[in-house]
Symmetry: C2
Subunit: 211 residues, 2 copies
C-alpha cells in the first residue's frame, strides 16, 4: 500500500500511528503542503484524491481511500490484530467520542485552510490566529480530560484509537504553544506515548520529509 | 433511550435520521442552543454531557454517549438491521469518507462557535461569515460530488450513513443560502430523501421544538 503523507499533517500522523501499531509496512509518498503553493492542490495529486488533501491510502489494487477517520476504521476492520477498538459497542462509542472531539471539534479549526482564511481574507494577526486555535483546542481538551482514565493510555494499558487521535493533537498543541497545565491526564498520555515504539516511528520529526 | 436534541442542530438531525432509518423510538429531550445564553452550557446539561453540546444519547442504563459520529457507529453496531454500512471494508471506507468530509471538513466550520467567534471576537459582518461558510461548504461538496453515484441515494437505492450526513448538511446549505447548482448529484439525493419517511420524520421542521 502507499500512504500519501506530509510530516506535520496531524491527520497523516494519525494514520502513521495506526499503521505502526498494527505493524503494517507501507510505501510513503510525500506531498508537501506548502511548497509550490501546496503540492496537494496539483492536478497530479487531485487525480489521486479529488479533495486535494492528505492523507490518502492507495491499496494494492489501486483503490484510494481518503479521510483519516475512514482510513483508520478500514485498517481496524481489515487488519484487526491488534485491535484499536474494544469489542463492546458502548466502550467503542466512548472511545470514538474522544476521537470525534479531536477529529470534528478541534483539528478542523486549526487545519491549514481556516487559519489562512483568517490571515488572508480577514487580515487577522498571528496573535488572533493563536487565540482562535487555543479557544477550540482548550474547549476540546477540557472535555477529553473528563472522559479518559487515570493511568496508562487514554483507556488503559494498551493504546487505542483515542490515543491515535490524541497524540497528534498534542503535537499540534505544542506547536501552537497552547498551555496544557490544566490537562494532567492528557499530558500523561503524551508522556507514555513518547516511549512507545509505534508512536515514536510515526512522529513528524522522524519522517524523511521532516524539515 | 433519551436523545438530547435541538431541532436545527445538524448533528442532532443526523442522529434523528439514523434512529428513524433503524425504526428505533426514543424519548426526545430538547436543549435550546440559543435561549438563556444556550441551555447546552447550563450545569444541569453539562452533568449529562461535559462538553456542553448536542446530541447526546442516554442509554436505558443511564450511560450517555456523545458525538454524533460515535453515536451513529454505536447504533450501527447495536442495531444492525437495517444496515447503514455495507459489509465490504473498502466500500465502508468509501462511504465513511463522505461522512468524514461533512463531519470534519464542513460542519465544524459553520457550527455555532466559529461563526460567533468571527462576529464577536473579530468583528466580521454577516456577509463575511456567509463567505466563510460558503468556502468550506463549496470545497467539501465539490469533493463529494465526485464521490457519490449517479442515481438513488449517495451509494444506491437504499439510504446509507453517507446520506445520514449529507441530508442535514444540505439543510444547512439551504439555510445559509449556499448556491448548489454545481452539485447535481448532491441535489438529487436531497430530492429523493425529501420523499423518504425516515428523513421526513427527522427533519428540523417536524420537531416539537421547531420555531
Amino acid at each position: 500500500m502507499k500512504l500519501y503523507t506530509y510530516w506535520r499533517s496531524t491527520s497523516s500522523y494519525r494514520v502513521r500511528i495506526g499503521l505502526a501499531l498494527k505493524n503494517i509496512e507501507v510505501e510513503h509518498c510525500h506531498v508537501h503542503l506548502v511548497r509550490n503553493g501546496g503540492e496537494q492542490k496539483a492536478d497530479s495529486y487531485r487525480a489521486i484524491n479529488p479533495q486535494g488533501r492528505v492523507p490518502a491510502l492507495a491499496l494494492d489494487d489501486g483503490t484510494v481511500l481518503t479521510q483519516s477517520p475512514a482510513i483508520l476504521e478500514y485498517l481496524e476492520e481489515a487488519y484487526p490484530d491488534p485491535n484499536l477498538l474494544p469489542s463492546d459497542p458502548v466502550k467503542r462509542a466512548k472511545l470514538r467520542s474522544v476521537a470525534a472531539i479531536i477529529g470534528c471539534d478541534i483539528h478542523p479549526l486549526h487545519n491549514v485552510g481556516p487559519p489562512n482564511h483568517l490571515r488572508k481574507e480577514f487580515g487577522r494577526s498571528e496573535a488572533d490566529v493563536g487565540s482562535w486555535i487555543s479557544t477550540w483546542l482548550g474547549q476540546g481538551f477540557a472535555a477529553i480530560e473528563t472522559m479518559i482514565g487515570d493511568d496508562g493510555f487514554c483507556f488503559g494499558a494498551e493504546p487505542s484509537l483515542a490515543d491515535v487521535y490524541l497524540v497528534p493533537q498534542l503535537y499540534a498543541a505544542r506547536r501552537f504553544d497552547v498551555p496544557l497545565a490544566g490537562y494532567p491526564r492528557i499530558v500523561r498520555v503524551e508522556r507514555i506515548a513518547a516511549e512507545h515504539p509505534a508512536f515514536r516511528k510515526a512522529h513528524p520529526s522522524r519522517q524523511p520529509d521532516a524539515e
